[in-house]
Symmetry: D2
Subunit: 481 residues, 4 copies
């Protein structure tokens, strides 16, 4: 039962806009560009002359807003929205964001991307004082902390609350007369500010959403900042100055859209450079280069260019594969039935293929793709991974929580090669990853969070420390056997 009461919000997309007609439609369009950040739920809260109304539900945006009127009904001049990624415990509507709060004399709505590391402790403490939580989401903590604050005005109440929560977070908080945006002290999650031609401000997870709505990029929100947008304009404040930039490197490797820029770095270009450096570190004697569609295509282009090999379409992804209720039986799967990926026989037959993938988590997909290519007649398959081996969990908002699931935490590279039945296997080094991202302002190992690769967490782990220690001990014991 109590398993529902844990933090679940990870890898989400948020979008907020203040001061423009048709705010909900713009938010829908912005979220549509952020749909890759979460497909399990979606919602929009609109501010109509000071009254907040929320519509939210399970599934894709197109599932939740499933008629032309669904957004038209949300008339207003400001809005925040959310697309949600989640794993276990996701089947509660109460957890879908934005979370709406109605008080006798006011209303709030909250949307959040990230993961709080002290959510369980805070909740226990507040419940002992009589608090009632209605979701099992860590997001709700901020609302309770704001309401319990004794600070004289709302700005100070929000700041006080932000100083209590820990972890990775990008928060949007809307009331009847303002929109707050706040980023954690390490800037783990991306958050940018843009402006529409009519002057209205937007704050959202990625620049691709600014492009989608025709807004101009203004700036990246900085660690520890609290942004306030209201009818008088935008105000930038710091709720803490104890900050240290640690942008999540998985955003560059896999998660963000290729057309987005994070801290001035284009994601596609960073991936292409990862591929180029990978070609240098891990060359292969091959005829063609192909990538796993769609997230690895940039790295594959970079590898091909640097290696002087032809870049080819060796794999085709079914573009309707988003969701199907009908799956092959296990028997059919073993007979080679594959609904999502196909090898292009005419391309790979008889060829020595470099197969570029962005990362490896459990390794099951890698094995299937190598087999797919060999069944299609590839002479050999050289698997190249455009990021370092994933060996440690993430507690700041990426869904990698248990080392037991990480194949690279449990096996050597040669063991993995055998498991995948690849002819060779190579990973990008952490140094090259940092070089490829090429954040202008940072010293080595600073600015970019690579904790899942090297285990060096930039913050204490709070509620997760015990879990982490137990997992590491189990891993160590397993390796001893």
């Amino acid at each position: 039962m109590q398993s529902e009461v844990k933090s679940l919000n990870e890898e989400c997309g948020i979008f907020g806009v203040w001061g423009t007609p048709d705010a909900a439609r713009l938010t829908y369009i912005g979220l549509f560009a952020l749909q890759h950040r979460g497909q399990e739920g979606a919602g929009i809260t609109v501010n109509h002359d000071g009254e907040l109304r929320t519509k939210r539900g399970f599934g894709l945006l197109t599932d939740v807003f499933d008629s032309p009127n669904a957004v038209a009904d949300l008339d207003g001049q400001a809005a925040i929205g959310h697309v949600r990624y989640s794993t276990a415990g996701s089947n509660l509507l109460e957890n879908i964001q934005p979370l709406p709060f109605n008080f006798s004399d006011t209303q709030f709505a909250l949307a959040h991307n990230g993961n709080l590391t002290n959510a369980i402790s805070i909740r226990k403490q507040l419940e002992d004082r009589g608090a009632i939580y209605h979701s099992s989401s860590d997001t709700e903590n901020l609302m309770h902390l704001i309401r319990l604050s004794q600070a004289p005005d709302l700005d100070d109440q929000v700041k006080e609350a932000l100083n209590i929560i820990k972890g990775g977070f990008a928060y949007l908080v809307m009331t009847k007369d303002r929109l707050y945006a706040a980023l954690d002290p390490n800037g783990f999650r991306p958050l940018v500010v843009g402006q529409l031609p009519n002057g209205a401000y937007i704050v959202c997870s990625e620049t691709c959403a600014l492009d989608a709505v025709g807004a101009e990029f203004k700036f990246d929100v900085q660690p520890g900042q609290l942004i306030k947008i209201d009818d008088s304009g935008i105000t930038i404040d710091q709720y803490t100055t104890e900050t240290q930039l640690s942008i999540c490197s998985m955003e560059f490797i896999y998660f963000a859209r290729p057309d987005s820029d994070i801290y001035g770095v284009n994601v596609h270009s960073a991936r292409k450079r990862m591929g180029e450096l990978l070609a240098k570190e891990q060359p292969a004697d091959a005829d063609i280069v192909t990538g796993v569609p769609n997230s690895s295509l940039s790295a594959a282009m970079g590898y091909a260019e640097a290696a002087g090999l032809p870049y080819e379409m060796g794999l085709v992804k079914n573009q309707y594969s988003a969701r199907t209720f009908i799956e092959p039986t296990q028997e059919l799967r073993e007979q080679g039935v594959n609904m999502k990926l196909s090898a292009v026989k005419g391309v790979v037959k008889g060829k020595r293929v470099v197969l570029v993938d962005d990362s490896i988590v459990r390794g099951t997909t890698s094995r299937r793709i190598v087999k797919l290519l060999k069944d299609a007649g590839a002479a050999s398959v050289h698997l190249r991974i455009a990021s370092p081996p994933l060996r440690y969990p993430c507690f700041y908002g990426i869904d990698i929580q248990h080392v037991s699931e990480l194949i690279a935490a449990n096996h050597s590279i040669e063991e993995m090669r055998q498991i995948f039945d690849a002819d060779s296997l190579g990973f990008l080094s952490v140094e090259s990853l940092i070089k490829a991202v090429n954040l202008k302002t940072i010293a080595p190992n600073q600015g970019l969070c690579v904790a899942y690769f090297d285990g060096k967490y930039p913050t204490p782990l709070y509620d997760y420390q015990k879990e982490y220690d137990r997992d590491q001990a189990q891993l160590h014991a397993a390796k001893m056997r």
Copy 2:
């Protein structure tokens, strides 16, 4: 009212299998690989010990089969399925295929890809004799002709009926004890036969569906052939010997999946060669090459390789764009809001871009994409089309029916360049198209139908002749003004 009574079935996908457990699931998986051929409707008819049951509906396969049981309920050893593309008049469930027919003593199911050119005449003639049609689909004609045939057995009845209908067609006809497949005398539409490891035969529109279900390709069905599959195996017959191969070139250019082979030619490779020849015929002084995702990427790769220019990801397609009920208002659209395509600023800014597209129909998309790239900072945009200008309608199953809608039928290339605001514009020649497809066995202008480019139709137009003459006259008059 009577507008419903016209032929509507165009650009569809069909799949049939005989003699294997879980036939409906295999058909679903096969259709899933053919979903690009039609998204307006789908259906499966299963044969369960001689009893036929049909499930069909509007939308994608995942809309029609919207629960895990939807296919499991269709238990049987043989099945045929259909994915449907349609334009006007599509809102009749009766038109969704397979069309089921129940007689006092037997059952039939029909699925069809193509367009009959004498459907209206046949229907009028049969109705005058008392026949009642229940769909407005041209597909139904074959059933009436079979039942009215006085031939002694079903094989001969089917052959007699096939000799009456004209146009482009690939037909599947299932009864309680057999599965027929028939191709028109010109082989306009693709149709292939494969075999599962357990010996069961499959007949379907493209080889990608054979790959998806783990079947081995056996042969391309030839013009005028009638295939019969039953419990005793496969029989190949000709219902007519007056045949002349005229494969639809648009299948290679745009319609088929890149991993499919048609008459031994891989579609991706053919497109890449189109891009290579386009680079030679229509070079450009540029820095990078980018394609319109997803159908033009192969041609763009070929252009880049032949031109010695970097192949880049200058445009990103939203992978969730399949369908949304919420659209930007006209006002938002003019402000640059775009939900489907984004330009990658970090890639195109300041660059001279070759933009490769597979074909141009109305031209509205081309103008928007050129603008998108220029707004993102492209120094110049050189639009290159990997096929010749579309100037004539198709009556064999591709949805190009009125020249008034074809921008190339109404404007010169320079006029189009200005409309698109491109810095230059170039098309592939018909000769290079034929060379790129490179069908082994054919003489120039034979084997490949290019009638939409040159107006030379390989058959009489029957019911469409009058419409065609009127359209050409109007076009001529318009050009005179």
Copy 3:
């Protein structure tokens, strides 16, 4: 498989109107008053300036027209509608009426209440000539016969077709410019004509639908009549003069609404008289009289009044019992769980109860109700049935087809009393039934069909004769044992 190809339309309600604005809404309201005649499917065909559009589906009217726009979308000046009752084979949308037919140059829609006794023969004969049926409904026969007729005009074609079909039927046939209504030569099914204040004519199954739409009753359609309504008014014709009135007595006993009049006789009043005559024929030594809600309340009132006993509410029917997906388990049922009917303990406790029911088919309900009253403390239960024992099947449109299901065909009255655990049991005689209905113009046993009570069918049985003979032989054999 072929079991689908049999006649299925029984006990339905039909409604048609010609020449008034908002015709579909009126038809909806009229059908709503006829919903008791069929709950398995519903549909409306509207005539909008000569174009026919049909909406139909499974379930109640409120299931099919499930939004305010569902009827508003059907704009037109004439319409026909249907509510459908069915047993096996009902899960085909094609069978839901009105049946729409689209020809190259015209359209038809058909709605039908009744059952044809030569439907199977006609279909076989026409299929051998090449006809294709698309429903498994007997209704469709009329359309084929009309189209195959060589008569010079539509009026004659319809008459010719009506003379071929046999059995019980009330038909509505709408084309772009007229509405036909036809009744079988025995007038088995009720059909009335009314007129709106604006002059528009209505033809429908019961007068309660005329009241619901504010129309004035004009006349009962007579056996063998063909009514034509078009923009020039109403025309009354006879397609045959070989007629003999045989109104279905079950309409008076159970099926029609109490506020309807049939051939001038109010249904509630007829039922009350049945109860009065029942009290005289089958008196009981009791304290109170109660009826099974809702269809037996009129008869119970009559019984109480004639017997000089208090009329009481001894049973309450759950008014939300229309449909529920959740049923008691068998175990719960045996523990006395009952979701539809409750005994009123405060009323029946310690009382000797006369329980009046309208009829007994299988007898399972009767046993349960007697038990319900005894469990609630009734001292004794005297079951009185306000109609004669049902012993023969009906082939004219009432769903009583097999004598094996009829408890009175298989058991004596004393055996039934024991099965029901009633303290006494009595039925109304056929003579009293005829007296209670009191049709003015008829000789004994003429005018009213009582074939299910006495086995004397007013017509040949055609396709059903063989089935009837077999059933009677089995029944006879069973009684011999």
Copy 4:
């Protein structure tokens, strides 16, 4: 905005069971018998080995539990359920009951029938302390008060909380190991305890739900009682001894089901006595008596019996009228279109009719029914109301909140007669109402709440006092004009 934050729960039905297999199914069946108490929403919380799961939604039970599995999925040994009636502000899923509460270490579910008179004050006070409410329902207050209580154990926390809330309430509170039931100090709302054959206890709103699930009635819960049911059996406690019985008389007049007993009085019998006394107080020179179906039939039977007049079915209610999306237009309505009620012409034509109705709120229905009967030919209509004129609002759970809506608060009896176009009009006196209900143990005006008739409220009005005073002042001013 803030209008959502007010008390909304009125006239609901509740059902709880502890310690039996298939508890959710039993709860469904019990709620099904209570569906007349609320049709706007429904829900069930099941207790499965200590884990609580809730399913709730808008509409009827059959809408919320819309598949056979919907209840089967709720496996457990205890459950509580709720059917909800509501007016404004009902469109929040959060307000549908049972309300589920998840804490880090425990779970609660609450269901409630009634209305708290100090809900707004409590909420404001608790929000100032940092509390967050998630529904706008007054029900939620109890949960906050329980959690904020400093009492040593849960029993005492619940008692403390119950002593703070005011008004009319019957509460069910379920935790992992127990089920509480509590009644307000006046016993405004009905609440009874029963027992299944297997010993499991049930607590629910009316005895009809006990009958439906096959349970034996044990006792009426008394004012101020707190019942606790757990695995060790049932415990009866008093949370307060300051009680005074004031059962809602509208339960007897209109709201409860006729087969229910309240404090030992059968509802149908009480209504019949109301009719009998009404006949004596308000006789009429008439031919027949008819009631408005279904709630007034008992009173009409009593009137007919006492007056020695025939009881007749003069009106028929469409039994499918529960809900329809299609309504007559205003124009059609004026032409006499009526979808819910029909007059039986054959019965009322030419007759002098006594029309018995249970009560009059706004009076619009009365006017329409009188017109319906006169249009059907009634010679005269004598309207008799089996309860006193409604002149004051109710604050304890019946939806009569504003005197401006009450026709009897604004008009004399003669004025009303004219408005209704009745030939005469008579109401039952308060004294006869009390006599008809005939509660054994009560002195005049005690035991039965008749405040809506005489304005004498048995408790202070708390948050409603100001509203009440304002309404009375407006009413007074209006009468002065």
